[in-house]
Amino acid sequence: MKEVGEKKLPKILLYIFLTISALLSIFPFYWMFVIGSNTTTAVNRFPPAVVPGGNFGANAALVFERIDFFGAILNSIIISTAVTASVLFFCSLAGFAFSKLHFKGRDALFIFLLATMMIPPQLGLIPNFMIISALGWLDDLRAVIVPAMVTAFGVFWMRQYMSTAVPYELIEAARIDGCSNFRTYWNIALPAVRPGLATLGIFTFMGTWNDFLWPLIVLKDRSVHTIQIALRTLNDVYFTDYSMVLAGTFMATIPILIVFLIFNKQFIAGITDGAVKN
């Protein structure tokens, strides 16, 4: 297994390449903290500040004064958790059906599902608003949660993932043991697709957390603001205090990082669980 050791140089190059990629990826995030811990005037200088300053506490205090930060975070947690849990379940279930079960019209329905991903979303705002208004869901978290409970993207992803990660033999074996379809899905397929679920989970959580186009149209009242809507109201029309905005943005990112770290273990869990296939 020492086959790679024969070439030391490429290994170092590999680390350098990955380190540079990681640094490039992290820089704007780092800079967000730099601005958030300085004052806006320091940032507008040229060349701008590149090391963190000592103003983060003051900027954060301003954020807390202007918006209900923790209330908005709580709303975001409720919405993102509900959507993520629901998406994981319903999408993996549908993905399982599309990849492992045979039923009439399956392929046509799947193509239809793919086509729905291609609809440009911008014009949906007004008709969707009419629906939500008719349901009486204005200023109600359900307006954001329910439409997102199953996504075509998630179904598509789980179907593709199941078709590489869950071989037919596994399904057949379960059936011979007398498993129902749901049991096969729950006990056999789900454990084999944990990296796929982790990926879908983190992307769904993050996407929901960061979304604002739709929430800001249906969640107007301060009490139901998500963190993204609340952060946007930090922008004054004539002048924006970037230091304050980015201090708030930085704090609002921390929950996503925590969620990523929770899911992070699952990304590699599949390797050790690969034994399922044997």
């Binding site: 806006t40 005037t41 507008n44 200088r45 040229f46 202007r66 379940f89 319903f90 279930l93 705002l125 007004i126 008709p127 608003f129 009419m130 208004s133 008719a134 349901l135 009486g136 869901w137 204005l138 200023d139 109600d140 359900r142 949660i145 329910v146 409970m149 129902s180 749901f182 049991r183 729950w186 800001l216 149209i217 107007k220 009242d221 301060r222 809507i229 946007r232 109201t233 930090l234 922008n235 004054d236 029309v237 004539y238 002048f239």
Partner: protein
């Protein structure tokens, strides 16, 4: 099999969420966001929903009104400036969900003004009585062309003046006293000549971007792209021709840094251009972007008058059910006395000229700009503003003209090509 039931349960939950809420839709579905749930006790209690964007500076006054009128509750809902206007468009288009009171900013006003059926006419609630409190041009902007329909009560205004760098002017051998500057730069031709002098002797440009020159000069006349009947006159309009020619003429003294770009702040701080055309609210931007230039600025009138940039109306969407209460509130809120208080706290420049003589306005001091009478100069500017006739398509054409000048500035088109392209695009947009 248990799992199967679990799955059914989940599906049931999905349906349940959808079903149970359609029942509740009856109680607050069509109250348009003012959902007071019946108001169990006092029948006269009224809740008004008010949509604003952050930074309008009305919070204290809104609280004060509720103290004075305990039966009125005002529920302020803020959204970011552009989100706010998208939201307003959406709820009006969808036919439900609009607030009792909505702010509309000047830049968005013309599109909304096209549809009086979406708003209450303030004249029905007594707006004729407060008309004379406001700047005449501002009130006309808030009204239909014939004056029979008033869309909203004006909030602040943005009369334009010109900030200039004393040090650069001095180095260039130009006067530095504001009255002398106003006298010396009384026409745009004078301004351009002075700009060449600045460029020659100091290397700095005179101003940031030719598109801003076009905007400033374009606002100095009543008829721009359309006549009062709404006919397109852009190609015959002398105002527009002059604005265009002045912009092209002064291309050697602009810095090619539009104000929306991040570099504007850095260029400003570095003294890359010597003058800024600005309404009062932009003073703060200069202070924040270029704090090191404190004390290097002064303010004079713009050549050939003024112009307006910014300010808003408080409107009453037709969906609102308490227009009289809402009108009573907004007309109180924007009364001269209250505008004076708001000016003292936030610096929003009042739209009611009767308070311009107040010492608080006249003697508004700011060391950054070397002035102890900032209010005086903007008051003078506010009274120099011409009424400008705008159509719903004015904004569209402004964008086309701005784009055309950008292509000239970037060397992507000659002035003649850019003008021809712009006219072609204008005709196409208007004919649709």
């Amino acid at each position: 099999m248990k799992k199967f039931l679990f799955m059914l349960g989940c599906l049931g939950l999905l349906f349940g969420l959808i079903a149970c809420s359609s029942e509740s839709s009856t109680d607050n579905g069509d109250t348009g966001g003012s959902g007071d749930d019946g108001g169990s006790g006092d029948p006269e209690e009224v809740e008004l929903t008010m949509w604003l964007w952050p930074g309008m500076g009305l919070d204290e006054k809104i609280a004060e009104y509720q103290e004075l009128n305990p039966h009125i509750k005002i529920n302020v809902q803020e959204a970011e400036y552009s989100d706010h206007h998208t939201n307003l468009l959406t709820v009006l288009g969808a036919g439900s969900g609009a607030p009792d009171i909505a702010g509309v900013e000047q830049g968005h006003l013309q599109r909304f003004k096209e549809f009086p059926e979406q708003f209450h006419n303030l004249l029905d609630f007594g707006a004729a009585d407060i008309k004379d409190d406001f700047l005449e041009w501002r009130w006309r902007e808030a009204s239909s062309p014939d004056g029979e329909f008033v869309f909203g009560v004006p909030t602040d205004v943005g009369p334009m003046a010109m900030a200039y760098r004393i040090d650069i002017f001095e180095e260039a051998g130009l006067p530095t006293d504001p009255d002398e500057v106003s006298a010396k730069l009384s026409t745009w031709e004078d301004y351009i000549a002075a700009g060449r002098q600045v460029k020659e002797r100091t290397g700095s440009n005179m101003y940031n971007f030719i598109g801003d020159m076009f905007n400033a000069t374009r606002e100095q006349g009543e008829l721009q792209y359309f006549d009062a009947e709404g006919n397109l006159i852009i190609e015959e309009s002398e105002l527009i021709r002059r604005a265009w020619d002045l912009s092209i003429e002064s291309i050697d003294i602009h810095n090619n840094t539009p104000r929306g770009e991040a570099e504007w702040g850095a260029a400003l701080a570095a003294g890359d251009f010597a003058t800024v055309f600005l309404p009062p609210w932009m003073l703060q931007n200069i202070k924040n972007n270029a704090p090191d230039t404190a004390g290097l600025w002064n303010i004079a009138l713009m050549p050939e008058g003024s112009g307006n940039w910014g300010g808003s109306l408080l409107t009453l969407p037709k969906q609102g059910e308490h227009p009289q209460e809402a009108y009573d509130f907004i007309s109180w809120l924007m009364s001269p006395e209250n505008q004076l208080d708001i000016f003292k706290t936030y610096g929003n420049f009042p739209s009611t000229p009767s308070i311009y003589d107040d010492p608080a306005v006249q003697n508004h001091a700011d060391e950054f700009f070397n002035r102890d009478d900032l209010g005086a100069i903007f008051s003078e500017a506010a009274q120099l503003v011409d009424f400008v006739y705008r159509s719903p398509d004015t904004g569209t054409i402004n964008t086309i003209m701005g784009d055309a000048l950008t292509t000239v500035a970037d060397g992507q088109a000659t002035p003649e090509e850019a003008w021809d392209n712009a006219m072609q695009e204008v005709r196409r947009q208007i004919s649709r």
